[in-house]
Amino acid sequence: MEAWGVALIKVVFIWAWTLIIATLMTWVERRGSAMIQDRLGPNVCGPFGILQPLADGIKLFTKEDIVPEKAKKILFALGPIMFALPAFSAYAVIPFGDKIVIGGKEIILQVADVNIGFLYIMAIGAMSVYGIVVGGWGSNNKFSILGGLRSTAQLISYEVPFGLALLSVVIIYGTFSLREIVLHQQGTFLGFLPNWGIFKQPLGFILFIVTAYCEANRVPFDLPEAESEIVAGYHTEYGSMRLGLYLFGEYVNMYTLSALMVTLYFGGWHIPYIDMSKFLGPVAYGIASFLVFFLKTCFFLWLFVWVRWTVPRFRYDQVMSLGWKSLIPLALLNLFITAFLVQLTI
């Protein structure tokens, strides 16, 4: 019974936390892009405009909910939910800290330490495309359908290098559990480098980050919603909170993917060369590990924003050819080399 209670608290905490991060990210994105572009951005609501997401939320909630006359009503309603739900669920298997001891009880800072965490991420991540396709189709708008189709093709193509890049990580650590992968990354590698995934998988990391951008529909892979070509892609016809769910889902996806990057390649909650558990109390250690993990995640979240406002957008066929002609061969090569090296060392 107690285990249930703990699990529930963790779930509620991580949902709320993700929500807060996603809302804050909309503000960071707007302020950050403004700073990059020599502007100020929203700075009126609250100090530094930090309450802007709240204002946006109120606006989205109170706006009239318009359903196009010729839209397929059920699909139209289903789309945003199908997009947002997997985005929220994916975080369940990612460890957001090491462990914390409260009342003599050790609690792992992870909603569920599933031993197939990897497969869960892959499966849930691929689900979100349904939300886009269903929404695009249900809108009964040519631009929406184009956006939906672009998204499908893109996700199917990039799922392969994404999976292959992950597979190399699995080969190295020999486990599917994300928590165990992080635990493996303690200490040093080759004597002087932190024992992080990125130093064992440099090519794999580049492949992973490129495909992650594609999975998250971010620039330079934001073709499904390329606003200058196909208006707003799959969410052309959406308004009010339905649109809000799509936008929200995107940021939650970003958060999940950033956390995944930290987990796999940047040592999770480890600080290089320092073992925090040695000199911190159990409670302080739990909080510190959580914060370290979060700060690392923040960097990747910011990278999403930073890249978005720096590079132009690909064209549809170029994304395809990049995926199939460059990334998949590279991912296969990476997998092969990894397997070979692992075989040598064992």
């Binding site: 403004a34 020599d38 502007r39 100020l40 700075n43 930073w306 720096t310």
Partner: protein, 215 residues
């Protein structure tokens, strides 16, 4: 016909995507840091593009062509004599003037022998080209610096004489009157010298005036 074959060679750095993207990230980072520091400062207009409009307004040129004003001379008399030049020259036809004759005892109010009984400018039609200002012999109508012209009704956007003179009085109070521009030097009729070739043509029989005909 048909589209030409395009062949351009990419350098290795260009081929690899990431090199140029990282360089680009460097540029945007520089801008970010600069503006981040600027945004922490207090005071208006810390970031080059942004004026926090209702609270903080940019300096506008003293000869800005904004909302019109009708000028009074030093003795407080209306300069306008309702000659109608501005009305005639206006490309948007937004000025309507009614002329009145100055009666005995009213000389202290009006500078000329006639005056404008009503003077209306439809600011919705006006394109702020400044031709009325140029056409006015008396220097009575001048485009001022007012640019906040939005209003709730069409009628409110028609500026009448009272509002136009009010504009002048306010501008005078704030010291925002347009500086007098010196007259533009005009070339003498005789020295119509060749000031650069006006459309020189290799075979274009000179600047032939008038129409020549004949097969």
């Amino acid at each position: 016909m048909g589209k030409p074959e395009v062949k351009r060679d990419y350098t290795l750095g260009e081929r690899l995507y990431l090199v140029e993207i990282v360089k680009g990230l460097g540029i945007t980072w520089k801008h970010f840091m600069k503006n981040f520091r600027a945004s922490l400062q207090k005071g208006p207009h810390t970031v080059p593009t942004c004026w926090q409009y209702p609270w903080d307004k940019r300096e506008i040129s003293p000869i800005f062509r904004g909302e019109h004003m009708l000028l009074l001379d030093e003795e407080g008399r209306e300069k306008c004599v309702a000659c109608g030049m501005c009305q005639r020259v206006c490309p948007a036809k937004c000025i309507t003037i009614k002329r009145g004759k100055v009666k005995e005892g009213e000389e202290a109010k009006y500078a000329g022998k006639t005056y404008c009984a009503s003077f209306e400018i439809d600011l919705l039609r006006c394109i702020f080209c400044g031709l009325c200002e140029e056409a006015c012999n008396k220097g009575a109508i001048v485009l001022g610096q007012g640019y906040e012209l939005a209003d709730f009704s069409r009628q409110a956007c028609v500026a009448d004489k009272k509002r136009l003179i009010g504009n002048f009085l306010r501008a005078k109070e704030e010291g925002r009157l347009k500086p007098k521009r010196p007259p533009v030097p005009v070339a003498g009729a005789k020295d119509a010298k060749a000031a650069g070739p006006q459309k020189a043509k290799s075979a274009g029989g000179g600047q032939g005036k008038g129409l020549k005909r004949g097969v």
